[in-house]
């Protein structure tokens, strides 16, 4: 092993979903750790991991119950002062791990945390880690006890990295946790929740306009809730709009507990597919959306970009707000080339691999996590523009955009915004080259 492993889209498609080579399967090899994979190895180190996500409940605080190592990177999150004040740590020592005696201290620790806060927290989120996963701790029971003792809602958040590829990965589980405090309310027909992200959609997303055109007056997202009361009002929603499949489990739980049904939309960059999705959403909610102006605007942005910068050749990463394979397919269908994709191929995106293989069979697919990426050398790559924070790491000299901002792009507005920032990056690169 002295060069980075890659496979062309054509070869991969020919192998089929069952024939994905072991080099692309994270369970078959060690996981390479480079800055390109930081978001994978430590979701909390950047963006939203379980710890930061658990604090999505307005006014809540988090008590991390774990060995010190699990809380270490929280210092980085704590750079943001408002977050730092919301994290507390009950550290486990070797004896705790062996005997589980730390569980008896949790109710008292929760009370001490609440007493130390200037303002009483709305809830205490207890974050537990691989240790309690292996110990088989019944944290629901511990939380009930702590809640009775401290007089505050206490909710478990399972940061079980060991179960990352299991039925209930940590980021799926935490989405259920943050909505678990909602209590039944009378439904309001003109109210809807957007589930999926821990930060709001970009304000310019047409989704808001389209929903309002269908008579929806109140659109709530947890990240826009100013306080606990507003958060609780999410229970009145007529339906939930799920924009990230990791929120599917939370939506199912809300349907079961509060009777709120859900509709799921995917984040896409192919404008015809976006249009199709809106048509189906309209059918589901009994409305006909006029999305043509938004689509036109997005497609014009793409054609303006192409006119101005020509047929670029992209390298697309996976540390970004998109499915790298769907985004790559969109770029190819819009007349651009994609020479490389750094992504994790799985059941849900193999369909895009097949379509890419038909249009651009030579596109190379790499796995960020493969140990062979230690030897990655992009110097012979034909790409001239990069998208994704990981792709930028591999091609530091090329113009590109990380496209992983916290404000979430969605729909046509997301497409337009992407090509907008790409245009800016290329202009700046040209300018600095002069």
């Amino acid at each position: 092993m002295n060069r980075a492993y890659s496979i062309t889209a054509a070869e991969l498609a020919a192998r089929g979903r069952e024939g994905i080579p072991p080099e692309l399967l994270s369970s078959a090899h060690l996981i390479y750790s480079s800055p390109a994979t930081l978001a994978f190895n430590s979701p909390g180190a950047q963006g939203f991991g379980v710890k930061r996500a658990g604090l999505a409940v307005p006014g809540s605080v988090m008590l991390l119950v774990a060995p010190a190592c699990c809380g270490r990177n929280t210092a980085a999150l704590g750079c943001e002062a408002s977050l730092a004040e919301r994290f507390f740590y009950l550290m486990q020592d070797d004896t705790d791990i062996v005997t589980g005696r730390h569980l008896a201290r949790i109710p008292e620790a929760v009370k001490e945390v609440c007493d130390s806060c200037a303002e009483r927290p709305s809830a205490v989120m207890i974050c537990i880690t691989c240790v309690d996963a292996l110990l088989g701790t019944d944290m629901e029971r511990v939380c009930r006890k702590a809640s009775e003792y401290a007089g505050v809602p206490v909710v478990p958040c399972y940061m079980y990295a060991l179960t990352r590829e299991g039925r209930l990965p940590p980021m799926v589980s935490v989405r259920r946790s943050v909505y678990s405090l909602l209590q039944p309310r009378e439904k309001v027909a003109s109210s809807v929740n957007i589930l999926g992200f821990f930060s709001p959609l970009r304000d310019d997303s047409e989704l808001y306009t389209l929903l309002r055109s269908a008579g929806i007056r109140t659109i709530r997202e947890i990240s826009r809730c100013a306080d606990y009361a507003e958060y609780q009002a999410m229970a009145e929603a007529n339906f939930n709009l799920v924009l990230n499949q990791e929120a599917r489990h939370a939506a199912a739980d809300l349907q079961k507990r509060l009777g709120i049904p859900s509709v799921e939309l995917a984040r896409l960059y192919q404008t015809d597919k976006i249009a199709n999705q809106y048509r189906l959403l309209g059918q589901a909610v009994g409305a006909e959306f006029d999305d043509a102006p938004f689509r036109e605007c997005a497609e014009k942005t793409i054609s303006d970009f192409r006119d101005r910068f020509g047929h670029r050749t992209f390298a697309v990463g996976e540390w970004l707000n998109a499915d790298p394979f769907e985004l790559s397919l969109s770029l190819i269908r819009n007349g651009f080339a994609v020479s490389e994709i750094y992504g994790t191929v799985g059941g849900s995106n193999f369909v895009y691999v097949r379509k890419i293989a038909a249009l651009s069979p030579g596109t190379k697919i790499y796995s960020n996590l493969s140990p062979s990426m230690m030897f990655y050398d992009g110097s012979d790559s034909p790409c001239d523009t990069v998208i994704g924070r990981d792709a930028m790491y591999y091609h530091p000299g090329l113009p590109g955009v990380p496209w992983n901002e916290e404000r979430q792009p969605f729909g046509y507005a997301g497409v337009a915004a992407l090509f907008g920032v790409l245009g800016k990056a290329l202009s700046e690169k040209k300018e600095s080259a002069r």
Binding site: M1, N2, S26, S27, A28, H29, L30, I31, Y32, S33, P35, L38, F40, N41, S42, G44, A45, Q46, A66, P67, A68, C69, C70, G71, R72, N73, T74, A75, A76, G78, A84, F88, Y89, L90, M91, Q92, D93, D94, I97, H102, E108, A109, E112, V113, S116, T129, C130, V131, L134, L135, M159, A161, L162, T163, R164, E165, G166, L369, P371, M374
Partner: protein, 353 residues
């Protein structure tokens, strides 16, 4: 509650210390975890990881690996990553997961050596202790594994033990420490872990003396003394310029210095050189070696104990990483001097404002 942190976040753990000690030697490092520990170590505790490619890997453990204890699978993955890579050894670093399932690290070492045909180091860190314990264990294991032959002593050659960015928060710390010793008249300096290579470790017995600059290096120094008779001295020959500039303001004052013990001792020595009447107390959250403590020096056991000690100590000044400022009693007027400690705050000296 002793184990509750209400103001601070946890310090660098033992597994980070172990990786930091081994990072510079050209081996393949496998962190025996599910992924999160690796992210924390690399993304937060190892500043060198961001500026150069390194062979650091996560074992990528999943629940069934932990439940079934699939060590053979881990070693197969390790062998596959080592094959043709040109890396010189492998190292397997513990985390809470192997600690809970009682992984036999000695067996892992034997299995890895057999499969790869190359030396392997295992450090059974648990994630519950501080970085210096892990670094100490890793240094010791490194020298036990590679420094096996006696070499003729090369006069004028000195080794530095215990240097890492976690203790000396600068990417140039190895060069700065070495330069300070060259200025003292040493002809050749080996700063293990920050500049010196694996061949320097193999010929560690050739140095005339070792200098131990943090408590993490002491166990290895004692091992080299016992094995080869190499004498050692505990001393920190370099302090950052910002710290040196601040020393005159501490002369004659009652000061609490908080850092790794040997760096804090160096501050004390420097202040006492300026004014012997100064009252300097050294404290640390980390290892405090009794042989190098003076009266009133203390180990900080908990956040609560720290607050109480500072509140009742009657200090005029506190020298510490400014991250600790959040815990210092706000009712008291201290002169606070920032002395960054990467293991505490993840800040480098260069980031001091």
């Amino acid at each position: 509650m002793k184990s509750l942190l209400k103001h601070l976040s946890p310090f660098a753990p033992d597994q980070s210390g172990a990786v930091s000690a081994l990072f510079d030697f050209g081996g393949l490092i496998v962190i025996c975890d599910a992924g999160g520990c690796t992210g924390n170590i690399c993304g937060f505790d190892e500043p060198r990881w961001f500026i150069r490619r390194s062979a650091v890997f996560s074992a990528g453990l999943r629940d069934m690996d932990a439940i079934l204890g699939r060590d053979d699978k881990l070693v197969s993955k390790l062998q596959s990553a080592m094959d043709g890579s040109g890396l010189k050894f492998s190292a397997i670093i513990g985390t809470p997961v192997p600690a809970i399932i009682a992984t036999d690290f000695k067996a892992l070492k034997r299995m890895a050596e057999k499969r790869t045909g190359l030396p392997a180091i295992t450090v059974p860190t648990t994630g519950t202790r501080h970085y210096d314990r892990g670094a100490s264990d890793a240094w010791l294991e490194l020298f036990k594994t590679f420094a096996t032959e006696r070499h003729a002593i090369v006069p004028g050659t000195v080794g530095i033990l215990g240097a890492s960015p976690l203790d000396f928060p600068s990417l140039d710390a190895g060069e700065l420490l070495s330069a300070a010793l060259v200025a003292e008249g040493w002809k050749s300096v080996r700063c293990y872990g920050m500049g010196a290579g694996l061949d320097d470790v193999r010929t560690a017995s050739a140095v005339a003396k070792n200098l131990v600059v943090s408590p993490a290096g002491l166990a290895a120094a004692k091992y080299l003394l016992a094995t080869f008779g190499t004498p050692y001295e505990v001393r920190c020959p370099w302090l950052p310029p910002q710290m040196l500039d601040a020393l005159p303001s501490l002369a004659g004052k009652k000061t609490l210095v908080i850092h790794q013990q040997f760096a804090a001792n160096a501050v004390r020595d420097a202040v006492l050189n300026l004014d012997a009447s100064s009252q300097i107390t050294v404290a640390s959250w980390f290892m405090m070696e009794p042989d190098y403590m003076r009266e009133n020096d203390f180990h900080i056991e908990s956040e609560e104990a720290f607050i109480e000690a500072v509140a009742n100590g009657g200090y005029d000044a506190v020298v510490c990483d400014s991250r600790l400022r959040t815990v210092l009693p706000r009712t008291q007027a201290f002169h606070i001097i920032d002395f960054p400690h990467f293991a505490v705050s993840g800040r480098l000296f260069d980031e001091v404002k």
